[in-house]
């Protein structure tokens, strides 16, 4: 059960705390909750990961398939991102067609990965015009305590980094599901996008909201950043403003600046977690 409900009074409490530079859980406005990562939640997937930001928990799995390439992209593989806001994870989610919230999160995460050119789609081509690999990024929520976009985006990127091709039967031309190779996906690691959504309530800008903070926020700006070696500064690869209230130019620029700071932290976190995962796999292989 949730401790803090989105009462009118809660918004008042949040604003009062923020005017003192605090959140109701004691954090600073630009402080994120502890992030936990656990790989391999489903052995049947090409890769899978569970990411926790505080109490928010999302799972992401990568599955691969084969298909005909799209017209105009005859030598490129394809990618589909889907987000399931599981009713398991919140009393506010319902069954049925994906809600606009789910669709928006999926599309925003998809854009960042696609536009940064993190995946080398040409290397997913098996036979030009006939057969290409398709990547499915499936995100499902386990507990919603706010900031699903950033949690989902981080999970997607971690899952892609640890994914391996399934075995392709040369004779039948079909995938031997459940059997995996050691071959990683064709990724350009320096183009890896990391996402930070900045929120605004009143005049206060903050990141990583808990659910009750996200419920009363006036506006948000999702910013996806990557840093290729050829560039001196970080690059923005996708952006999305959400919420009814407008942002001033200064606010938008401040948010980009905060997202850039978070990018550096997340970058370090990603490499640390991948390192740990590699060591764990080596240990398991020895056992």
């Amino acid at each position: 059960m949730r401790i803090r409900m989105p009462y009118k009074l809660t918004k008042k409490n949040i604003l009062e705390a923020m005017s003192k530079g605090k959140r109701l859980d004691g954090r600073g406005l630009l402080e994120h909750r502890p992030i936990e990562v656990r790989f391999g939640v489903s052995k049947n997937a090409e890769s899978s990961v569970i990411v926790k930001w505080g109490k928010t928990e999302v799972a992401c799995g990568i599955k691969m398939g084969l298909q005909e390439p799209y017209t105009g992209h005859e030598s490129e593989g394809t990618m589909t991102t889907s987000v399931e806001l599981l009713p398991l994870s919140s009393p506010n989610f319902e069954y049925g067609q994906p809600s606009i919230e789910a669709v928006e999160i999926a599309r925003v995460i998809d854009r960042g990965i696609r536009e940064s050119r993190f995946i080398d789609f040409e290397k997913l081509c098996i036979k030009e015009g006939e057969k290409v690999w398709s990547i499915y990024i499936d995100i499902a929520t386990i507990n919603d305590d706010g900031n699903l976009i950033d949690a989902g985006a981080l999970a997607a990127v971690l899952a892609l980094r640890t994914a391996r091709f399934p075995v392709l039967d040369e004779e039948t031309g079909k995938i031997d599901y459940g059997n995996f190779t050691d071959k990683a996906l064709p990724l350009v690691n320096e183009n890896m996008p990391l996402t930070t959504t900045c929120y605004k309530i009143g005049n206060h800008i903050f990141i990583d909201p808990a659910r009750e903070e996200e419920d009363v926020a006036d506006a948000r700006l999702t910013i996806e950043i990557f840093k290729p070696e050829s560039q001196k500064v970080e690059m923005i690869t996708a952006m999305q403003k959400g919420g009814e209230m407008p942002l001033s130019i200064e606010e938008a620029e401040k948010m980009v600046s905060e997202a850039t700071k978070m990018f550096k932290k997340l970058n370090i976190l990603v490499e640390e977690e991948l390192d740990k995962a590699k060591k764990d796999t080596k240990k398991k292989k020895k056992e």
Binding site: I3, Y7, G21
Partner: protein
């Protein structure tokens, strides 16, 4: 009550808690043949010959006279529809407000989204009636402070014997704390830091409900976590 490593033992539905005629089955127990079985997840309590379960989770079951905090959900021409938790709707009839209230004035008194401190008048099969005809201070609209939610079955532990636990927290945090029997708790502090401190203290109690010596542990937590009061930032 058996105690394991400083914690009270929990029983689960279907678990045999007594056999034979030594005890009589009380709240949340079932007699099956020679056995008395628990029908809830909770702690066993024995009172003379009666054995019963004190649940540690589950919905709020309203009782007449309970002080509760509710959120106004809707207005009808007969009164206010209120969410007090639990599965059933609660209603505050116009006639249960002190003085005469015009239908047109209702919104000004309690509007949708307002939180009120009120009392359960009577409990019907699938609905609850509330009343505001209490004379005590504090009842009515909640304008200041914060309201958090805990499982209503843990409220007695938050209050403590004769209010000892909640007084402990009040004194340490300089906050006024009003505990609704439905698990909603109203905290009013002089500043946000002490308010957050009181909220966290309550959460500590709620998360350690089966721990033995909880009072000492709470005292230690309060001492270890005393907040620094921050001044208001000049914007």
């Amino acid at each position: 009550m058996t105690e394991k490593h400083g914690k009270k033992e929990l029983v689960i539905p279907g678990e045999i808690i007594a056999t034979g005629d030594e005890f009589l089955p009380g709240d949340w127990t079932l007699k099956q043949g020679n056995d008395i079985i628990s029908s809830r997840y909770g702690v066993v309590e024995k009172q003379d010959r009666l054995i019963k379960i004190i649940p540690i989770s589950g919905v709020y079951i309203p009782r007449s006279g309970n002080t509760v905090i509710g959120e106004i959900k809707d207005l009808t021409n007969a009164g206010w529809v209120i969410d007090i938790g639990g599965p059933y709707q609660a209603f505050l009839p116009l006639r249960e407000c002190p003085g005469f209230v015009e239908e047109s004035e209702m919104e000004n008194i309690y509007g949708i989204g307002d939180l009120i401190l009120t009392q359960v008048l009577n409990v019907k099969r699938t609905s609850v009636d509330l009343t505001m005809k209490m004379r005590e201070r504090g009842f009515g609209k909640i304008r200041e402070g914060s309201v958090i939610r805990v499982n209503p079955h843990r409220v007695p532990r938050v209050i403590g014997k004769e209010g000892s636990m909640v007084s402990l927290i009040k004194n340490a945090s300089n906050c006024m704390i009003t505990v609704g029997q439905n698990g909603l708790i109203w905290i009013q502090g002089n500043n946000i830091d002490e308010q957050i401190y009181a909220e966290k203290a309550i959460q500590f109690i709620v998360e350690n409900i089966t721990t033995e010596g909880l009072t000492e542990k709470a005292e230690k937590w309060l001492a270890d976590n005393k907040p620094k009061i921050t001044k208001e930032k000049k914007e």
